[in-house]
């Protein structure tokens, strides 16, 4: 492992708002926040927009350090490196108020940094991060919980950190969110994410090449993919499929290689692909030495069959053995299951 390098592990922030001001005549909600204001918030977080698309359901921005999704009553920002993500909470709540939206729930989550000592305050300790998040939220949020889900046997210890706070005890979100973090990427597969020598093309055609070469376009063939290739290496994409989002970020360098895959989906909507199959396709792109999956059930009831099916499919198709499975309940946010996988020894 390298002494220091780019930190792929992301910090993720999700803000959800009450929808009482959303009507048929005024369905846009947060999407009415003007872009210049959003850009300013991103400036404070230390990232910028490099590519973007919108459809009838949401806006998707690819950032210099990950992604931003804006739905009428939900914002998701995911940033990597040494970005100051939590600085966005107060300004976003303020901007939302300007378009008549009141915060309902907040979730902050992340894995374990590869280079924890390279992070600025407060990201050097989850306790400090929780203090900062709490300071930025309304005092009226009665349902709060912080949890560090730590597998007992993993090496290095890759825990999953979650803090949730909400005004209501019942979760309002309908989609299940799946977050996959992968390290020790297969070196041959990782090569797809380096710009080629003598590459005449620009970032976007190079991005398209990477999407195609790596097989990322086959994870969900229905999705429109907004991709971007960084120089000299690195890749990001947002997938847009109706109201469903997906996002992939790759740091391919050996020694600190990392890739993430995240999507929002419904467990029982066959048309969009079975969750286990989608995960297998996504993880197969990278063939990592280590993978973790955090599944947040939100308003959906926990289904143990789904957990077992994911483990079965990953074992069968990718030879990945589930080494630990942890579960925790977050009032107002739902159940989170955290699974860790490594290849079965040959």
């Amino acid at each position: 492992m390298a002494v220091s390098g780019f930190e792929g592990f992301e910090k993720r922030l999700e803000l959800r708002f009450f929808n009482d001001s959303i009507t048929n005549n005024n369905p846009m909600g947060l999407r009415l926040i003007d872009f210049e204001s959003l850009d300013q918030v991103l400036n404070e977080v230390q990232c910028t927009v490099v590519s973007a698309v919108a459809n009838h359901s949401f806006d998707a921005y690819v950032l210099s350090e990950s992604s931003l999704f804006v739905y009428p009553t939900k914002i998701i920002i995911k940033t990597c490196g040494t970005t100051q993500l939590l600085k966005s909470i107060r300004p976003l709540i303020h901007l939302a108020r300007n378009v008549n939206l009141t915060l309902r729930a907040c979730r902050y989550s992340r894995g374990s940094f590869i280079f924890p000592n390279s992070q600025p305050f407060p990201y050097t300790s989850f306790e400090d991060e929780v203090v900062i998040v709490e300071e930025s939220l309304p005092k009226s949020f009665r349902y709060r919980k912080a949890s560090v889900m730590t597998p007992s046997n993993s090496n290095p210890s890759r825990a999953w950190h979650v803090f949730t706070a909400s005004a209501d005890v019942e979760p309002d979100e309908t989609l299940v969110v799946v977050e996959v973090c992968m390290t020790e990427l297969d070196r041959v597969n990782a090569r797809s994410f380096f710009r080629r020598k003598g590459d005449e093309g620009n970032s976007d055609s190079a991005g398209k090449e990477m999407t195609r070469l790596s097989g990322i376009d086959m994870i969900n063939a229905n999705a429109f993919i907004c991709d971007f290739a960084f120089d000299p290496c690195g890749y990001s994409m947002n997938g847009v499929d109706g109201d469903r989002y997906s996002t992939i970020h790759v740091t391919p360098e050996d020694g600190f290689s990392y890739a993430s895959f995240e999507c929002g989906l419904s467990l029982y909507d066959g048309g969009h692909g079975d969750i286990a199959e989608v995960l297998a396709r996504a993880i197969d792109v990278f063939r990592p030495g280590c993978a973790s999956i955090a599944t947040t059930y939100n308003g959906e009831d926990y289904d143990h069959e789904v957990t077992k099916r994911v483990e079965r499919v990953l074992a069968k198709k990718l030879g990945l053995k589930c080494r630990s499975r942890l579960m925790d309940e977050f009032p107002g946010s739902g159940t989170v299951v955290y699974q860790s996988f490594t290849p079965r020894r040959k």
Partner: protein, 121 residues
């Protein structure tokens, strides 16, 4: 009649510049007039599908202006997908921003998303 001069008068000064031409399409009639006049021209017509609510379209705006000024020979027609739903439908502009490249009434290429470099090519 049918010359592209008639639709030029609608160009708001904020998007007009010395070399490039961006026509804000306000009505179906105006669209037909631009489309028909470009059909008999060898010039490139770029339809810029956008929407008032589209943040990504706004993120793209400064770069589009830059490109417009660099291609004086092309005509950029900006179509709001809510105002001209059937035109948006004809060109399947569901994901924005979308730039559809037309020559002599036929689509020759399209770029979807805020990808400034790709638009240049």
């Amino acid at each position: 009649m049918g010359s592209n001069v008639s639709s030029v008068h609608d160009v708001p000064s904020s998007v007009e510049n010395k070399n490039g031409l961006v026509v804000e399409i306000e009505s179906r009639r105006q669209w037909r007039s631009v489309f028909d006049s470009m059909k008999v021209s060898n010039k490139l017509l770029v339809i810029d599908f956008t929407a008032a609510w589209c943040g990504p379209c706004k993120a793209m705006e400064p770069r589009v202006k830059e490109i417009v000024s660099r291609y004086p020979e092309a005509v950029f027609a900006r179509v709001d997908v809510d105002k001209l739903m059937d035109v948006a439908g004809t060109y399947r502009a569901n994901t924005l921003p979308a730039f559809v490249f037309m020559k002599r009434g036929e689509e020759i290429d399209r770029v979807v998303g805020a990808k400034p470099d790709e638009l240049q090519n």
